[in-house]
């Protein structure tokens, strides 16, 4: 007789990066300049240190056994801020009262400055081929055939991750997701899968679905 339950162990943090950023520096200077400016980067560096982000993510944002690598950030700025406001893993939430959007943007700029942009960002993906790979490589097993997500793995359709962020994560995931090394999935395959995932529109808001208002 088979015994088949590992769900309790496949929890919460399969794909979503647990960005632990705690801001306890109300005096940090609000920035009005470009998020990429030197001043912004410098301010972000100070916030990163004073808030203790390094304690879990490492002083270069390289990741530790407590939290994933976040340099360069795997998400675009807007979803990064959204995640920090309402994280899904162990990371505590960072409310506006603790850190403004601009302060978070400064930290983001600092993290982007720590690592050069990956060359894989220039890869062009083939969505049709990516759809086939999504099935044959078994991505659907945890994320669903349309990347809609499940209790054991998050939604990845129309992902907010950059291609570089996706590739970095699947090569060395920090949660329960198994690693997909380059021996089994090439960067080009991942670019194709990424292109497929980008073909999905964002889900309709729950408020527009009567069955979800019961």
């Amino acid at each position: 007789m088979r015994k088949a339950d590992f769900v309790r162990q496949l929890i919460l943090i399969a794909f979503a990066p647990a960005l632990i950023l705690t801001f306890a520096c109300p005096g940090a200077r609000a920035q009005t300049s470009s998020a990429q400016s030197a001043a912004s980067i410098d301010n972000g560096k100070k916030i990163f240190a004073r808030a203790g982000c390094y304690a879990c993510h490492g002083d270069q944002g390289q990741g530790t056994n407590l939290a994933p690598a976040i340099a360069p950030p795997p998400l675009e700025l807007s979803p990064t801020i959204a995640y920090m406001r309402q994280p899904t893993g162990k990371m505590p939430a960072v409310p506006v009262a603790t850190a403004s959007d601009q302060q978070l943007a400064d930290v983001y700029a600092f993290l982007k400055s720590l690592a050069p942009a990956s060359s894989v960002e220039s890869l062009k993906g083939n969505a049709d081929h990516g759809k086939k790979l999504f099935a044959s490589y078994g991505c659907y097993q945890c994320h669903g055939q349309q990347g809609a997500g499940a209790a054991i793995a998050p939604r990845i359709a129309a992902t907010a991750l950059s291609l570089g962020g996706v590739i970095r994560y699947v090569r060395a995931p920090t949660g329960q997701m198994p690693p997909y090394t380059s021996k089994v999935v090439s960067d080009q395959d991942l670019a194709d899968i990424y292109a497929f995932l980008k073909t999905f529109p964002p889900p309709a808001p729950a408020s527009s679905i009567p069955l979800l208002s019961q």
Partner: protein, 643 residues
């Protein structure tokens, strides 16, 4: 000439006597023999066969007026079993006959099962709804081997199942090769590691006393299956003339309650805490348990994380924080585990790569309290007791039975200042709960119109059809990403019965039918979301549901795979870096695809599907519910996303 065994020598006694050289004397002791023969002169024990041949032809026994199994029925009736679930077996044929004729096939009523695993799992599901065991009879050998996985599930789930094992105990009276093959010296040995108690009585009075004792043991927390051997000869031999046999009185044992000092200390810790958290798993066994859990949580304004081994806490209660368990645990300064099976994984998180790594989920200094009857009784071999957790206060007691005294102790220690603080944190918890519910609804919208149908959509479609009924969900939601628990309004004790306990696949379908059997007399609409792989273990339970007119709505979560294992092989393929496209081998159930609607129809169950268009699902469920309301089972096959 035929002779009734009421007037004859008991064959077993005769053969026993032969072995000691007194058989002839025993024969002579009967009135007929005494008249026909002079007193015997025994000089030495003759061969057994010789003695048997020597029995006069006129003494051949062909009928029995009052078999021992009639008395067994008297005993079993005193325990008030509603039903007997069994696949027939000749090692308990006499008991079977006594139950249906002498006992009138009423309390217990015989429910014909097509597999012993189904018999036990039906008892498992039934007990979680009804709060008491039903009776299961199995062949003590091959039948028990079939039943063993289901017994293990019930054991791990701390559920009482009462099992009678038929056995050909006396080798001298076995009829032939099958009786020998189906006999065991110690039938219960193979399940002793995962039952609470068993016995092999050799007299009817011993059977009676052990039967009542077994019931008490099974139903005293921690509850577990028990097994009682009913020897073939004990069943079939007549009750001896003048035998002084009686049915002992059953006095239920009160469940163990926590020590008053320890309970007071637990209350002190909870009242003083800034962020106490209650974690429940199997604490609410009855409606009263559910009510007490609400009372305790509201008194403390403490969030509850429900591991859902039972229906412990309403899903839409503002203090239900199951959806945000990680953050809630991370912020807690006191965590009380109430009949919490796996405390370790509650306060630690694992990263399950090549070498699993654990780290605490709690903040330093968080105090841990456990209240569980598992501290009173553990077995050694099977490791369902989970990893050892060093808690700060361990109360060895039944959780539900301890709740009243814990509530009273908490109430006694709350000051006005604490009441104000509790009110403040209650408002924050309510807001966080609503936010988590909204996040769940937004997540459910993802892939809403997908075909194959998402498990969130399937759950929402079912809910739309049952929400105004008196419903009872009797399947484990885990494989549907817990969507029913995230979207439906669970607030009664029979709204959910938890999972299999031992994670043994094959529990789902029969346990659901057993739970539906219990729900039938209450007029509840029983719903089961049924996994395809699970149903294929013993689909004959569909026939049992049809045959016994057990109304149940079965909605198939048909992802055409042993999907949990598919993911496991994918993990191995990734770790081993040998290609990741062949994980389906050994795991998929798709070539040919199983037509579950036809499978159901073949056994007299209403069947619809397969349905892959989400727009067709609601109407199909409505049609099926009409069938269920007419007193019959119905199945809707839904082609779904994996999870």
């Amino acid at each position: 000439m035929r002779k009734s065994r009421k007037d004859s020598v008991n064959r077993r006694d005769f053969l026993k006597a032969a072995a000691t050289g007194t058989a002839a004397a025993a024969i002579a002791a009967t009135p007929a023999a005494a008249a026909a023969a002079p007193p015997p002169r025994i000089t030495a024990p003759p061969p057994l066969l010789k003695l048997a041949d020597a029995a006069p032809a006129t003494a051949e026994v062909l009928t029995v007026d009052r078999p021992g199994s009639d008395f067994m029925v008297d005993v079993l009736k005193s325990l008030d079993f509603e039903y007997l679930c069994a696949n027939p077996g000749n090692s308990f044929r006499s008991l079977h006959e006594s139950l249906i004729n002498y006992g009138g096939n009423s309390r217990p009523e015989f429910i014909t099962c097509c597999h012993e695993e189904s018999s036990v799992a039906m008892g498992h599901g039934y007990a979680k709804i009804e709060g008491k065991p039903l009776l299961v009879c199995v062949h003590g050998t091959v039948g028990l081997q079939h039943a063993s996985m289901a017994i293990y599930d019930a054991f791990c789930d701390r559920v009482p199942v009462y099992i009678i094992l038929g056995n050909f105990s006396d080798a001298a009276v076995r009829f032939g090769p099958v009786d020998w093959t189906h006999a065991a010296q110690d039938p219960a040995a193979m399940i002793r590691d995962y039952t609470k108690w068993d016995d092999n009585p050799v007299s009817l009075q011993a059977f009676a006393e052990s039967a009542v004792r077994a019931y008490k043991i099974a139903t005293t927390p921690p509850m577990m299956p028990v097994a009682l051997v009913a020897g073939h000869e004990l069943q079939e031999d007549p009750v001896p003339d003048g035998a002084n046999v009686s049915v002992p009185k059953l006095t239920m044992t009160s469940p163990p309650v926590g020590d008053s000092g320890a309970v007071a200390e637990a209350a002190r810790l909870l009242v003083a805490a800034e962020n106490p958290v209650l974690v429940t798993d199997r604490v609410a066994r009855t409606p009263a348990g559910l009510a007490r859990m609400i009372e305790l949580a509201e008194l403390l304004q403490a969030p509850v994380i429900d591991r859902n081994g039972r229906m412990n806490f309403p899903t839409r209660h503002p203090l239900n924080h199951t959806e945000r368990a990680g953050a809630t645990i991370a912020g807690a300064d006191v965590i009380a585990g109430l009949e919490l099976t796996d405390f370790w994984s509650t306060v630690n998180s694992v990263r399950g790569q090549v070498n699993p790594t654990w780290r605490p989920s709690t903040k330093p200094g968080a105090k841990l309290i456990s209240v569980t009857a598992n501290d009173l009784f553990q077995k050694s071999n099977y490791q369902d007791f989970q990893r050892y957790t060093p808690v700060d206060l361990a109360i060895a007691a039944d959780g539900e039975a301890t709740l009243p005294s814990l509530i009273e102790a908490v109430r006694h220690q709350i000051t006005d200042d604490r009441k104000r603080a509790f009110a403040d944190r209650g408002a924050k918890h309510a807001a966080a709960h609503e936010q988590a519910m909204e996040a769940a609804r937004e997540a459910a919208a993802s892939g809403w119109d997908a075909s194959l149908i998402s498990t969130a959509r399937m759950s929402a479609e079912i809910w739309a059809q049952i929400k105004n009924e008196d419903w009872s969900l009797v399947s484990n939601c885990q494989f549907q990403s817990r969507w029913p628990l995230r979207l439906w309004d669970f607030n009664k004790h029979y709204h959910y019965i938890g999972a299999e306990g031992g994670y043994g696949v094959g529990y789902g379908a029969p346990a659901a039918v057993g739970a539906a059997l219990a729900n039938r007399k209450h007029g509840r609409l029983t719903v089961s979301i049924q996994n395809d792989g699970d149903l294929m273990f013993a689909p004959g339970v569909l026939w049992t549901a049809a045959h016994s007119r057990i109304p149940i709505l079965i909605v198939m979560h048909n992802n055409r795979a042993y999907h949990q294992e598919l993911m496991q092989i994918q993990i191995m393929a990734n770790q081993h870096q040998r290609g990741i496209t062949r994980a389906g081998i050994g795991n998929l159930l798709d070539d040919p695809a199983i037509d579950f609607a036809k499978l159901a129809q073949s056994m007299g169950v209403h069947g619809e599907g397969p349905i892959s268009d989400p727009k067709e699902l609601g109407p199909a469920i409505r049609r099926a519910i009409e069938v269920v309301k007419s007193g019959h089972p119905a199945l809707v096959d839904v082609l779904t996303q994996p999870r």
